[in-house]
Symmetry: C2
């Protein structure tokens, strides 16, 4: 509340400064917002960065003057007189129902305002103007275009500096900014919100992650399937999605043989695959994996970049197993997750075990013995891992207990990155059965839903932030940039490029006539992990000069040695290439 | 026409035979059809295979009797009398407008019929009853259920025998039968018609084809993207799909920010990718590839297996190039197609060049110079390939000329397997532009649509038929089956399995207690290309006995030699493994 007062007061100070430096400008509105405040002004030309500097100086002057914020009450007639040269303020005045109108004055500046404010301008201890943007008056594109100035204010200089540092860091790591600069993905109004299009370099990232998952899943006895993106209403009634999850699904499409829906989850079709033949106990556990794309109808206003989307490509798999097999399977999934996290360098995470509540009969499927058994199994496994874990009572899904892996991002934000869910409901809903050793049909088939790598969209957003776009060699869309010093070096550079490409190493050659300084800077901006410079000396000795993103440089490296090291680093998916 | 007469006459003979053996049965209708003829009968219980045998014998007796087909005319009253105990025939009679009703009689059997028929039953030289099925009277599910008998008839015994052989062969190669037996794909009423679900073994096939395509496209300078399965109405209006292609698209889905459609083609989003930044001449040709899944709303009654589907995963790519680059690009696509066909062993194909018609101004985009130029370029390229090609005037698309690659299947059926289409329309619709060498913006961007491998669905159906399920080693879902003779051999078999799996070779071990004969037969039924048998002798000498699907056997092969050969055969994508 105090911070909000400071910020709202700062917006008055900004308006006062604008009126001093640009007397013709008309005032709009100026509220406090989460990151600070803004004020909208009517002015033909946008404010320049130069203007912002001058305004910030002027604001500091005003603040120093220790003007008190005085509340002034006025009758409507009088208020109209005060605001006579402010058409936008008059418009606001018209909308006000009260007879008595409130103003606040600091120094000479007076503004239509309900307050509250700090006592004096001096209470605004630290300010910073951040940026400008266009904005329509009252947010309506039929109204006049205003010039908005964003700023922030704090109760101390230290708080401001901390905030600006965080802002800078966040911007450096913002997956939307990095994604655009590196050409990872795009969004288009014509395709629609929340539907990212993977550009060539993002597609490489996506494929590398997928290859890693496929490799890991193959090693762990998974088989792969692929399933359509739409299915009939009847399936989603059977699965329970239509009765319980309809508002998150896209609307139905009616065609000649019934009603179809975009799938919001892959599980129902996987269950059909399990059920389409009578399984033998020898086939269990059956692990069906798919990087499946599902669609969820989120409100358009909530969508942003890759983190809040309507299209989700899930690192999905369903494990069909007997009760006795649950423990071993969960343990193996947890091991897989730890291997993934190690490769991606995720260190700060813990497990959350979500349990049922035996008293809450409404919320949970009525299989007390299965709840008891599996919760114990999960607890024992988690204890063994020696990683911190917490238990959350009454937080399980309707159909079984689950383990969430809670990951702390570089900004300290907690995210559920991976989940493992047990499912007691599918066996009955989908009539999942197998023939046991004695030839009897057994319908106690347990399902484990697991998504260690979340969705491509969310995982790549988090990875981009995690690495600040400086992906490790194996993931980097461009792994090596070759830079030539003069045209005499191009021939050898192309020879090296061919050698690298033969080993499926992704490299680009910059043989333009530019300074080496510029070429290096450009490659660094693209976050290429290894820069190879080739000059006459390199050509003569048939060696390479290598530079990594952290600025380390090494000369005279033999091409074959370089190739060997690169290949080793990539195939081991190492965090860093050491030269 | 003569064949139709024979077959229609045979259907009368069938009806006569039924009336003799099952006097209570009521007659429906019995037309000639493409594969022969059928006749619908009203009878509670279906005809058994035994019944069919007896009926066939009876038909042959009737044919031998050399009954003449006599045309008989009757007034309506009289006709009603003749048909008094045939309620279905009376119903047909009611629908007839004529006063004079025509019957045909052979022997004692008389049937309401317009003809024409052969002269005598003896002209029906060869018959065969094929199968039975249920059918609703007049095809309406509200009507009575009839029993339909299908048969065929020919003018000579030889023709019949040839046809039956072809039928047998077709069944052996039917992708639906093989797909089910090998576990390649499944369909589910709950998911919907025309929406195949890829089972683990089909997924392997699909991935192998996709890997091949990606490898080939990488080598040819393509980059990969991936795009959502839905997009906004506005995109498909811009692309022209909604005005011109709406009935093939799924219905719209309306959500909070507009109307969305499932995409029926990948091109519009690829065009957006091209257009999302101003391209330089240095980026051209830009080749964007995607194995993209599109959805088309075909009528449910037309759908079948993998050949007629609603979900199509296209081997898609779009090449964006200048006019001068068209020739080289088309040539390179044709070369790629020839390489594919060589690997898959497709030999019987030719090119069809579809041209515009300068007089048909309505049908074609009005760019005469581009039509003339590109048609000449395509013609010259096709001439150079020395493969048969034909030209089809007035058969081009609205937006440009195209090359279809016409492939003859093992049954002589002609299929368009691959297409290359030029597109003059996209550049204007999507404002495709680039900056040329002189820094000027040029909007003459030509688009080439190409799908060498068609869709996964169609291509795998055709491949299955082509190979009769005996896929070459590199494609086979299971590449090697290891069979042990006694339990003493299991340890060594597992060692071999591990060695194979380390090299990513897909193998299965059958160590069950069954005869070697049965184990070999089972593996052959699954079309596993290489069967390895391991007995005491093999364990002792640490060698293998190898058997291929064509029945060749070789003993005493060293494990390392076998591994080397297998790996070579797979990585070269050889047609056949030679032992």
């Amino acid at each position: 509340m105090e911070l909000e007062k400071i910020r709202h007061s700062a917006s008055h100070v900004l308006a006062a400064a604008v009126k001093e430096l640009f007397p013709d400008v008309k005032l709009g509105m100026g509220p406090a917002i989460e990151e600070g405040f803004y004020y909208d002004f009517y002015k033909k030309e946008p404010f320049t960065p130069e203007d912002l500097k001058k305004l910030e100086e002027k604001m500091k002057e005003i603040i120093k003057k220790d003007f008190k914020f005085k509340k002034i009450k006025a009758a409507r007639k009088e208020a109209e007189k005060i605001l006579k040269s402010e058409p936008f303020k008059l418009e606001i005045l018209k909308d006000l129902k009260d007879d008595e109108i409130t103003f606040y004055q600091d120094g000479d500046f007076i503004d239509l305002c309900k307050g509250p404010h700090v006592n004096s301008t001096k209470d605004i201890k630290a300010i910073k103007l951040l940026r400008t943007s266009g904005a329509y008056w009252k947010g309506d594109s039929k109204n006049k275009q205003m010039q908005r100035i964003y700023g922030t204010a704090f109760g101390s200089e230290k708080e401001l500096q901390d905030y600006l540092k965080l802002l800078e860091e966040a911007e450096k790591r913002d997956h939307k900014i990095i994604g655009k600069r590196m050409g990872l993905f795009m969004l288009s109004e014509l395709v629609g919100k929340g539907l990212p299009i993977w550009l060539p370099k993002g597609e490489i990232l996506k494929k590398e992650i997928e290859n890693f998952a496929v490799e890991m899943e193959n090693k762990n006895g998974y088989t792969r399937v692929s399933t359509p993106h739409i299915a009939k209403e009847e399936l989603f009634i059977k699965s329970g999605h239509l009765p319980h999850y309809k508002e998150s699904m896209y609307p139905k499409m009616t065609i000649d043989d019934g009603n179809y829906y975009l799938k919001a989850m892959n599980c129902p079709i996987h269950h059909l695959i399990f059920g389409h033949e009578l399984r033998s106990y020898k086939e269990l556990p059956l692990r069906l994996a798919e990087y499946g794309t599902v669609y969820r109808n989120e409100l358009s206003g909530t969508l942003s970049g890759l983190l809040r989307v309507r299209m989700l490509t899930q690192n999905d798999a369903h494990i069909y197993c007997t009760k006795e097999q649950i423990g071993k399977e969960i343990e193996s999934v947890l091991k897989m997750i730890q291997e993934y996290y190690k490769i991606f360098g995720f260190k700060d995470y813990y497990y959350r075990l979500s349990l049922w509540n035996p008293k809450n009969k409404e919320k949970y499927i009525n299989e007390p013995k299965n709840w008891e058994y599996t919760e114990n199994v999960l607890r024992e496994i988690l204890k063994k891992t020696k990683i911190k874990f917490v238990e959350a009572e009454d937080e399980a899904s309707f159909y079984g207990p689950k383990i969430d892996i809670q990951f702390k991002t570089v900004f300290g934000r907690e995210e559920t990155l991976s989940t493992i869910q047990l499912d007691f409901a599918a066996k009955e809903r989908f009539d999942l059965r197998y023939v046991d050793k004695d030839g009897k049909v057994n319908n106690e088939v347990f399902v484990i839903h697991r998504t260690p790598l979340s969705t491509h969209e969310r995982f790549i957003a988090i990875l981009t932030e995690h690495y600040a776009g400086k992906f490790p060699l194996w993931l980097s869309p461009v792994q090596i940039k070759l830079l030539t010093i003069t045209d005499r070096n191009i021939k050898f550079a192309n020879e090296v490029k061919k050698l690298l490409e033969e080993k499926n190493i992704r490299c680009e050659l910059n043989d333009e006539k530019a300074t080496m300084g510029k070429k290096v800077r450009d490659a660094e901006l693209e976050h290429v992990p290894i820069i190879v410079t080739i000059g006459d000396k390199e050509v003569e000795k048939r060696t390479l000069a290598i530079r990594t993103l952290d600025g380390k440089v090494k000369f005279g490296i033999k091409v074959e040695d370089f190739l060997d090291n690169i290949i080793k680093c990539i195939s081991n998916r190492e965090q860093k290439y050491e030269i």
